[in-house]
Subunit: 671 residues, 2 copies
Amino acid sequence: MHRLRVLNEQRAHATTTSGETDTPPSMRGVHAIAPGVYAITADPPPHGRLARAWHRLKRVLLGPPLPSGRERRERLGWLAALAILGADAISSTVYGPEEMLRVLSQAGVPAISAYALPIAVAIVALLGILALSYWQTITAYPTGAGGYIVATDNLGRVPGLVSAAALLIDYTLDVAVSVASGVETATSAVPLLVPFRVPVALGGLCLIMLANLRGIRTAGALMSAPIYLYIFGTAGVVALGVLHWATGTLPPYAPPQSAQEVLNRPVETVGLVLLLRAFSSGAVALTGIEAISNGVPYFQPPEARNAHRTLAGLAIVFGALMLGITFLCGAIGIVPDPTETETVHSQLTRTILGAGPLHMVLEASALLLLILAADTGFADFPRLLSLLAHDGYLPAAFGVRGARLAFSNGIVLVAAIAAVLIVVFRGSVTALVPLFTVGAFAAFTLSQVGMARHWWRRRDPGWQWHMAANGLGAITTTAVLGIVVVSKFVYGAWMVVLILPLLVLAFHAVGVHHERLTRHLHIGSAHAASRVLASPMRHHVVITVGRLDRIVLQAVKYAHGLNAPIEAVYVTDHRARGEELRHDWDAAQVGVPLVILDSPVRSFDGALLRYLDFVQKREDPHCFLTVILPELLPTRWWHPLVHNYFAWRLKWVLMFRPRTAVTSVPYEVRE
Amino acid sequence: MHRLRVLNEQRAHATTTSGETDTPPSMRGVHAIAPGVYAITADPPPHGRLARAWHRLKRVLLGPPLPSGRERRERLGWLAALAILGADAISSTVYGPEEMLRVLSQAGVPAISAYALPIAVAIVALLGILALSYWQTITAYPTGAGGYIVATDNLGRVPGLVSAAALLIDYTLDVAVSVASGVETATSAVPLLVPFRVPVALGGLCLIMLANLRGIRTAGALMSAPIYLYIFGTAGVVALGVLHWATGTLPPYAPPQSAQEVLNRPVETVGLVLLLRAFSSGAVALTGIEAISNGVPYFQPPEARNAHRTLAGLAIVFGALMLGITFLCGAIGIVPDPTETETVHSQLTRTILGAGPLHMVLEASALLLLILAADTGFADFPRLLSLLAHDGYLPAAFGVRGARLAFSNGIVLVAAIAAVLIVVFRGSVTALVPLFTVGAFAAFTLSQVGMARHWWRRRDPGWQWHMAANGLGAITTTAVLGIVVVSKFVYGAWMVVLILPLLVLAFHAVGVHHERLTRHLHIGSAHAASRVLASPMRHHVVITVGRLDRIVLQAVKYAHGLNAPIEAVYVTDHRARGEELRHDWDAAQVGVPLVILDSPVRSFDGALLRYLDFVQKREDPHCFLTVILPELLPTRWWHPLVHNYFAWRLKWVLMFRPRTAVTSVPYEVRE
């Protein structure tokens, strides 16, 4: 043993020197830039047709890999920021009023004209309170802070995780609702698409995912064009409509055929529950309002001032559109389409402008706006996951940037969840909205409470005013959250109420586990390290064998090179077959003893595990086993489907066995 | 090097002796029964709560594992065989006539009364020809032979594979159609189930799958009870109906509400195409007729004579039911329900017996019959897969018997495919029937052609008669196959026409690959083996490192025990981070050189692969690399989701790299 150790150390030393030699062999893509440091400038070319095709497809769809540090963070002026960071909030004006009208329409058309505007006023008032609250957040965190950071900083770990879970739900539903609403906008113009609602939504989702994996951050100016087109177009429609209304020349309203049923509904008395439900549905329009305080670092300096200006602008634009759309819908008598074929927004513009090219252009701008809103979710979800991964609450995989610098795993995950939501809820905005609102308001509430606590703890000059603003926000959002949860519970809010705590529990468990692990794995000192390395480790090698062929022979040869006793093990339910193998084995003079395990119930994995227990008991309970799995090297894409079935099974069961290294030794058949 | 080899051989020898020592340490479940042979009588207990729960659930659902050779093959008398082997064919009388009527009803109700009986007569004539043909198969293969064996034996490899592919499609659709028809039978009695058609079908499928995984082969008597109840019950209904008809006292017919539309259909002239389509739909009733010639070994001796008797019995029973049901449906004027809520069989018995308990009992027997028919597919599909796996056309996994002696992988596979079919076709028998008929008749044709060839080659005395019978069968089934493919092409037959050749190509490719592989891997002689073992193999070890912790330290210690030069490799996009690690590494005196790979595009897998190419070029192109992946031992069910992300990724890319062993070295944290 001792002699071996010495020899091995000499070898190790020899490598050290050879690894640091002055003239290393050169190779394309590998450059020695310092002793023991290599720059790898090119990946090896992919092997095989399928791998090459996959590689080429990835190149075409995603573009060439980008080096780290090439992330351009474009600074936005307040006008561009209003478009880009406001896309999520402004896009809610497409579906927010519609969902409110839909609830009211259950009590007949008169309920709409009577209650729509008051509810819209209440929602705009709520918007004012939220804007005031987030104004304080920008003041307090001039470098930007999302709800997770605000809640963690000021309320502690668990509220931070609750906020994170609520935001993740919020972002996922932002993606799903925006895409679903985008499809509804598309079907407003092209009703032929109605039967393909779900496939169209999934296709759109896929495209947005690819764009995000590619990491395109298009220039602000380019992105703001459709948004401003939407804002000014819709504002123009509203202004024109109000003018018509004032002069009594409103054009006649032609409801979509499928909405006829709504017009014929019996009139019912409107109860408080219905009003609260309508308010909850309309409140979905406020989602996305927090994006500006998250995005402070993206502003041109002075960041905080520009952010404040944008927030004010957003509140004005959003409030005006919300009130204008709701007022005009009431004045014209527009009813939501129960089949979700034509949006209320489209009905409105169609009535005012007529079904011509202008209407088409405005609906196209709404569609682009909704796609950009989905894009917000695609950007924020993975970013929050990477923060959580960095803090140890999620696997490290979510903190890894892909070839295009985007957090690819998070992007794929949010797309997958949104796809499931779209399929399960058949692409219906109405079905998704209750889930969306709960997630958003839970995050709002925690953020406001956190900010109130922030001012209380700091007591900077004038803290009372800041705290009052955030306190008002906290109280209001708490009340709205309560209203939303209760009034929408049976309509889907229960799912969020169920999933949110489960998410928090999972994050917490993973966080505790990572903390404990870090403590366990830490090496205190050089002395501790040398103590670990100096303690002896006995090896014992077991080769699993199914028959005697060149694959096994190569594995035996490989094992001979290791410095440990070796045995080969064959499991069978038929002892005679084992004896046949032993006969061949002895004839071939393999030079390694063959052990036959007779398992009458054909439990191949179980029998091997049992025998490994036995070996460890026999040899030394602390000996480290190495199980060698002789495998065939796959050289075609379908080989993994056909070969190495037993090796895969054993890898799975051995994965959970302590003190057991598992070695795959691949045999290459050259054809 | 030489000294090491000698030492290692001494060690190997030492193990040989210790492995065969006279007093090995004893252990529960491991018994030395001869030198180097152990009987493993018990699996190790499962670790962890989830594994224990899973183990317990499996025990409850599937029962304790059964030792090999405990497979009881119950021998059947001809009456029991008629029930069990005939279940598939007899069950077709539930949906066969219905599908024929459905096609005819497209030209209005008069088309049914005019053409249903003639088509049924044609189908029964076809049945006679098929029965005569399979009579010859039983004579020729008194030990039993399915279509795959008959076609391979007599026509060769590729026709055998075509037959196998056709049969696999046939069996899968037998499962799907029987379950779907069973659900329709259930909704006939309990219309409340209609909206849950698909979930109910999937639940039923799951139960039949579990029963098959459990490997229950219930006593013949028990299983034949519901079948004979169905046969005599339906025959009684038919006889009673004919009596009523003869005396002019047929009860009035109350069609299901959803069938009203059929009664109001305009009368159209009946074209040849419609008649052929009706015939093709009705011909689905003939599927399953081959089961008796497959099942000859299950008969009591004299096997062939009993099988002949059963075949004759089946032909008589089936023909009588088919004609009787079709005649009465025409006489009463029964129309198929376009929503597939009430079966024609149920309408018939309801009309004759009234909607009372008798009707319920008869429908219950039809349901049980259909479940048993699905069971046939569950038995035959995995058995055929195991034959194909044995012949090298499929992965070995399909030839492995599970804990209960059933071919578990095949059972799960057929259930999965049938589930997909049921979901895609929304549980509609009508939609599935075209696929079913094509598969069945393709298999019939190849089997008959094979038999004709068989007699031609053998020319036993009297071969002319046998060959004439099979020749007639071959010509007829070929013609019917042509009719079915053409008339049902757009209704789904195209899928089979597409998939069948793809399956054959896949089987063929895998077969050729396995053959080549066997040649490659064969070791000619002891000399060849010793030559392989004697050639030198240089080892080189690379440890992948993400940080310096106890996991890595253990992996380094493990590597020290191997007899090879070692280096540790760290990939980063940030060289400074690498230098930090090197500082800690040197401070801890790890004793292994650390190489830093700087990959600016964060291609961790690619950079490592590139560097491995480089190492092999530097050291020796033929040296065998061992990549050591330091891993954390998962001790909770969710650990695999949270840990070892990079190790999993590397395992995947390294799986395709020649001359590279991959070793997982797990570190156990004791909490």
